[in-house]
Chain length 495, copies 2
Amino acid sequence: MFEDAELGHTLSKEKFDRRIAAVRNALLDAQYALLESRGASVVVLMTGVEGAGRSETANALMSWLDPRHVEVNGLADPSDEEQERPRFWRFWRALPSRGKIGFFFGSWYNYPVLRSSLGRKRQWGKLDRRISEINRFEQMLANEHTLVLKFWFHLSRKALRKRQRELKKHKATRWRVTARDRRFLKHYDDFREVAEHLLRETSQAHAPWLIVEGSDRRYREMFVAGELLEALKARLAAPETKAPLPATPTPSSSVDRNRTVLAALDLTKKLTKDEYEDELERAQGALAMLSRHKRFKDHSVILVFEGNDAAGKGGAIRRVAGAFDSRMVRVIPIAAPTDEEKLHPYLWRFWRHLPRRNNIVIFDRSWYGRVLVERVERFCAAGDWQRAYAEIDDFEEEMTGHGIVVAKFWLATSKEEQLKRFKERERVSFKHYKITPDDWRNRKKWDAYAQAVCDMVARTSTKEAPWTLVEANDKYYARIKVLKTVRKRIEEALE
Amino acid sequence: MFEDAELGHTLSKEKFDRRIAAVRNALLDAQYALLESRGASVVVLMTGVEGAGRSETANALMSWLDPRHVEVNGLADPSDEEQERPRFWRFWRALPSRGKIGFFFGSWYNYPVLRSSLGRKRQWGKLDRRISEINRFEQMLANEHTLVLKFWFHLSRKALRKRQRELKKHKATRWRVTARDRRFLKHYDDFREVAEHLLRETSQAHAPWLIVEGSDRRYREMFVAGELLEALKARLAAPETKAPLPATPTPSSSVDRNRTVLAALDLTKKLTKDEYEDELERAQGALAMLSRHKRFKDHSVILVFEGNDAAGKGGAIRRVAGAFDSRMVRVIPIAAPTDEEKLHPYLWRFWRHLPRRNNIVIFDRSWYGRVLVERVERFCAAGDWQRAYAEIDDFEEEMTGHGIVVAKFWLATSKEEQLKRFKERERVSFKHYKITPDDWRNRKKWDAYAQAVCDMVARTSTKEAPWTLVEANDKYYARIKVLKTVRKRIEEALE
């Protein structure tokens, strides 16, 4: 794999000088065309062997490009705010918006490579799990208008040793060889073995690895600039070449309309007002106590509320939020995306709201909009909502893998009950804001929505992040079921 | 000051129950009206004596309001990302957008009150400086469509002691009395003295203190709900009642056009290409070394670039950015605000980009747009740009007070030189994107801009955050002057 990058590629000063002006101009032109079209964001990973010239190359590129539209992300040690979120949070946070270019030093490759090679017992199984996460993440990026370029800066062991010796010779450069560099040299062979495996397994058409021989400054700078330029030009010429969808079958329509998870709900379930008040107090009290539990400080909670229009999401959310100290809870109502959000991958606007530890975030509607309203109303292409199931699964796995308690609720009413509530909302003045023409329009597509809900539940209900279908014709019953479920989920996590 | 709040106000269950339904409905109505109008954001401070029922009251309000449009900010200990920014960063970060309500527990009052009263030697001088900062901050909020309500929850020493005793009596509530609470009781009289002074000095028409007697749950909840409701209703009824401008004189127009700081520049200054290349290498090298200095890790750097159109800001920025490791630098081009930014106070979109320590942020255009283009083109009311001088001053004082190195550059060309560059831009294809009809339009207002620049420099050039006027008819000269100035500023900070 690294053979070509150990041949001793160099570029003479003469050749470099002859070419560079044209490359720089073309790079600038491509950058402005990208900015104008907003067709894609560009993620450039700068990774590989320490000391193979990554930062020098990035510095050179930065001086050739217009730095106002480039973001360079060091991403060394995570801050405490980053540590309290799932691992990918800091990368999501740093994703450039469309039109911009982001260079990443620390990236999703650092941890698995270094962990697996330096000092520790190698764990191939764990590494392979990381690899498949990474592949899915990059696939998602590619599908979400992101051009991913991955540069691996290579130096042979010999070249690396030579470089360190030379730096150590001179007083002015001695400081540049750190203890970490020396340790790295010692473990070079392990590192190389892991890297080969990793690169082979993560090289994909939509996110290729480009191996750069790092020993000659002019060669590596020209190489990276040239590859970036070609990739930009290709993208600008054919902006719509999306990575083909992985072969997932389209969600199967249930053949028998009367045997769905929704149809199986017993919507006559109800509670009397007395039962409700009694249970409400008990359930809220229990949640309050749980949130003060010592171990709760290590967790956060994410609750997702979806449901038919007028199913009572707002009321249920208030009862859950009211159980906790208000300083711990934030309710995020999901409406139309802002212009910043539109310039990022679909899930970005949800990632940004993930809570710190000891906090609860309640989503009033959520990322499931993709496979519900966007599917039914055809706001996105079929391919987009079909791949969303897997992307959502990865998203939630990131959460649960980080110890976040996840619970998802679908509040289901009957079509008749909905009609009754719509009419009441139109009648009662202070509920008027709650009913819009959209609601009536959605109602006409009741069956299509029901189908989408069944597919969603079938494909995204997991042990760690299960869906709870809530019989919501009776608001009292629904609220208590929600509260009890949240309680159970948190109790399980604290055990 | 607290006499009224020690009278033992209570509210019977009967009265509370009779009123609360109406208050809740009215609150909800007002909240939705606020959300619809987007006329103001609402900042509610919940502060005062520990144990006087702040969080219970917030919890109650949260269950009466629609929690989807309320954000409760605990703001206890700052995170490391917060500690690396100026003190007010975390409050700016938490400001609700227009249409929303934000409750603040930790607020800009915590630090001065507690520091000045608990345990430490009291420093009245310092406290008074904080007080005037706070008053200016709240004045700015009021002017920027923010309704500020400050609740001070009060308990007399006797009532507080009684409350702690009662809590300690029962096993179920004993945990609620912390060491901090006991310490607080011990220092109660000091605290009260400081608080009286603070409240007196920070009570303003546009940000009044409302003192709540905290001993009776129903009384305090009804009090806070009632005051919030009245304030919302008043605001909705008269959305445009802005706080009157403090009596700052309008910037004086310079009587003699030929004796301004701009006219005094010697625009014939220039460097030869050889001199430039020589100086460039030296200056960039010096900056690179400074950025690796041990003490640099404790600082961050903010550079502001303003100037005539086509004065060469971009080129100068590239030379500065290129001096540093690209991972440390971010260039922020200031264009039209995003929709999220428009829903926040004017300076919010600049605050959000303040760097962490050991980082450099370069603003390509900046908050000075308020007193330049917005003033000249009348994009904002005269009062808005007039008060901006003081607001900007406070903003930059926050930076420099935190150890941030601030340097501001005005790149000045002659009118003739600008014309030459405009024409060249139109001629050269790859510079074409740089020239727009706006540029020609702005040029027609040359004198008005010159006036605005002189006023700006006169009013916002401070010892800690000085303006450097750069003779920019010769690009080489300009870039070197910028680089040398940045170097000098950083050197001074590291000394």
